[in-house]
């Protein structure tokens, strides 16, 4: 396992000019994001421009978008395993990795949206105090984590087997792929419920005097 990880770590630093330009451009944006998040931690969510009138903004919009991306990524696997399309097998590992990346970003967007990220441990099942069947946000957190780990497992297993020059044994990962395929609509559904449950009581009403305040785009006033 260790050589596999070491090799992965080393290969990060291999690449041509284009690779390094791309990486430094990404790092530049990462640093900007980090800086802004540090400011948010220091001064509160007020720096995002949200307020009581618009309490959820681009963070939650991005979260919903990335859930869709993650689910869609695994849909790419369907032709390979259900319709037995041999050509599509090449794309499987990429789509799984895309799902993992989207899922990680998704969960990060939720954490970034919290007013008190230091209290995130309140959401950890045993030591915290989970509002288990009641709140759809807890459902969402659980479903997304499971989905993340399913995809992470498939990616890791296939890559690990390939690294050792073996052909990955279908028994060890194909059931998980099917589970992930089945799980993909579930993350979609739960997120849809999560959003609809929020505005279940408020969508019926006018936005200004109710609570429905998801502002996906800046609205002219």
């Amino acid at each position: 396992m260790l050589p596999f990880l070491l090799h992965g770590f080393r290969s990060v630093f291999h690449g041509g000019k284009a690779y390094w330009i791309w990486v430094s451009a990404l790092l530049f944006f990462v640093l900007i994001g980090l800086n802004v998040y540090a400011r948010q931690l220091a001064h509160g969510l007020v720096i995002t421009g949200m307020g009581d009138e618009v309490s959820w903004g681009l963070y939650i919009a991005n979260f919903a978008f990335l859930v869709g991306m993650a689910a869609a990524a695994v849909m790419m696997v369907i032709p390979a395993y259900i319709f037995k399309d041999k050509e599509m097998h090449k794309i499987v590992i990429f789509s799984e990795m895309f799902a993992v990346a989207a899922m990680i970003m998704c969960l990060l967007f939720v954490i970034v949206d919290l007013g008190r990220p230091d209290r995130f441990w309140h959401m950890v099942p045993v030591i915290g105090f989970f509002n288990w069947p009641g709140s759809l946000l807890t459902w969402d957190v659980i479903v997304l984590h499971v989905y993340l780990f399913l995809n992470l497992y498939v990616c890791a297993y296939v890559l690990y087997a390939t690294f050792h020059g073996r052909k990955p044994k279908p028994l060890f990962y194909v059931p998980v792929v099917f589970l992930a395929i089945a799980w993909a609509p579930s993350i979609h559904t739960v997120t849809a419920f999560f959003v609809s449950r929020t505005w279940w009581t408020t969508l019926l009403e006018h936005r200004r005097h109710s609570g429905g305040k998801l502002q996906l785009l800046p609205q002219p006033r």
Binding site: G49, G51, E53, L204, E205, H206, R208, R221
Partner: protein, 135 residues
Amino acid sequence: MPLPFFRRRFIPRYGVIKLNHGANDRCYNCHLIQDRNKYAANDGSGIMHENVEKMCARCHGLIYKDWRNGTHGVRRGKWSAQTVFERQTFDCTECHDPHSPRFQFKTYASPPVWPDKYIRSTIIVTDHESVSESS
């Protein structure tokens, strides 16, 4: 500790009194003619200022009933009052000027302070009946 917003006091208004009390336009309908410190009851006896509501109740019986129930008028102190001392109940004349009994209150407070981007210059009135039915 909360401070009362206006002090409980009876302000005697001297000078020219403008009577603006509807059909009740005679001084001695309320003031006792023999003793000007008292108010007139139905049977010609006097009512002291402490019981001014008894005098008002001669005409405004329903409001008097509401006031007794606590549904009209201001109360302060305890909602679970066991004795009269735990609750302040405002008399009729503490809010209404008996000579011009229409309720008047002119000290209004400012609107909430919004961040600039939330301030609306115009009221948006949308016109779809389906939504207004539900609210």
